[in-house]
Symmetry: C2
Subunit: 329 residues, 2 copies
Amino acid sequence: MSGPLLTVKASAQTTPSGNPLPSWNDGAPKQAILDFVRATTDTASPNHVPPEDRIAVFDQDGTLWVEHPMYTQVMYCLERVPAVTAGKPALKDVEPFKTVLSGDREAIAKLSMRDLEEILAATLTGMSVDEFDAEAKQWLETARHPRWKRPYTELVYQPMLEVLRFLRDNGYKTYIVTGGGQDFVRVYAEQVYGIPPEQVIGSAGGTKYGYGNDGKPFLTKEPKLILNDNDAGKPEGIHLMVGRRPYAAFGNSTGDREMLEWTGAGAGARLKMLVLHDDDAREYAYGPAQGLPDSKVGTFTSALYDEAKKDGWSVISMKNDWKRIFAFQ
Amino acid sequence: MSGPLLTVKASAQTTPSGNPLPSWNDGAPKQAILDFVRATTDTASPNHVPPEDRIAVFDQDGTLWVEHPMYTQVMYCLERVPAVTAGKPALKDVEPFKTVLSGDREAIAKLSMRDLEEILAATLTGMSVDEFDAEAKQWLETARHPRWKRPYTELVYQPMLEVLRFLRDNGYKTYIVTGGGQDFVRVYAEQVYGIPPEQVIGSAGGTKYGYGNDGKPFLTKEPKLILNDNDAGKPEGIHLMVGRRPYAAFGNSTGDREMLEWTGAGAGARLKMLVLHDDDAREYAYGPAQGLPDSKVGTFTSALYDEAKKDGWSVISMKNDWKRIFAFQ
């Protein structure tokens, strides 16, 4: 990543009054964050954490940015299909590519998991890592979210940007731990969240080292999954990539359960928080935990809610705890 | 890792004269390091590198510390066998454990690769990650190298500690990229090299998330290889764990070839260096590149030497370029 990308576009701002979380309403979740940071950074605190151990992990989809009506990376894969089939015309009349090219939204929504995997493999693998970076970057500059007609990278939650900044200002290394593709998220994480590529952990495929005709080496993205960074894969991925147990973990769905459990099982003060999507007016409302509609994209089940209550995890109500959702509002 | 481990025991010291590489003799390799750092950090230089892109990677065995007569981790595995068979007495009369327990060095040296893999699996997997950390830490405190009768962690090359420190002082993030076990090296890398666990990339097995009888989650080390961090696995591992191409790479054997190629294929100033073991008096001499004895542990072939010459990689002669090898000398 080159220099200009380091600029954090929608960065958290500490207000003149010194409030590090200006987009948060007063309440238990905001207080939990403030208390945690004080307890782990005050050298007089029994729960003081040495700076090198200050690790905070964040799920991305639904925790840092919008995941509805569909994960952004899935939108990328679907919208890349015309470019891929242009290069391989034989695919145009073959399913599932034919359906995607038809633009028939109802038919696309009915594609099976196997179809989707085929589309992911065709659009995320087979090219060099540099080619993929360029393709994803170009798409992110032009693609727009269907509801807000804005770049996906603007649909990040301003209150969470403030938490990221607040933790970093207090010596925490912030990591993204996402079920999404590691290479995809790394393309924009530095610009959007101020999180460098080496602090993005995600579902990752293998690469294969080879040489071009000019003798120069390159890495090709392979359709071989190395890390499925969901559910138990999240603590496993954190062990693989960080080798330390986090002190703070943020998620929003059942896929984040084990990451929060793993974080909470450590000694001392540990912050475990779940974002609840209960604001249909400003964003979306889903998750049966609160009698909200069920959703395949970011499920917040009753069982997860029960575990959160039992184990003292904080549930953040987007409706009640956040003054605003996006920087542009 | 807790606070005290952060103390770098045998750390590089800048001399009062401000010489950042006091253990290096003047010569081409020392000059290459100084020139590279100046070229990439001077903002007026055409090869200036923004701080966030300053990544330097180091092989470990034979590059940062002694690898002869045998890789330290293999010594660990062999010496752990009595403890493992004490817990599973049925193994005592089964090969290859029987041979290891016999203490017959000649017979042990003749064990096949398959035997060795069985010993590695028995001593490196099946326990929780916390148990493994404790076992490895305990061994490192008591084990001694057969030649110097000192802890292995003291057998690090003082000139390389100075390079690590010099690069970090100039904004470089230093990574270990080792064919050795990632979990093993992470146990001592912070104490010995000042390199935190998240900057240690190595051969890595999978872990499995589970719950103890107390309901607490834990990760068990599995005998399933996720990353074979040798040869092409090194650039593949760097892509997986860092996501940026390094600007500097240090190695000493054919297993480091692709890592140096990958580093060198980037634009601008790139530092590629190989340590040549040609000092039998102070350390060891091996590698057919210079007519030295061949070795299965850290091979420096003629082909590697030719590639180094052709592509402008620096070859560091331990005999001629290093004033001293170890801090204790």
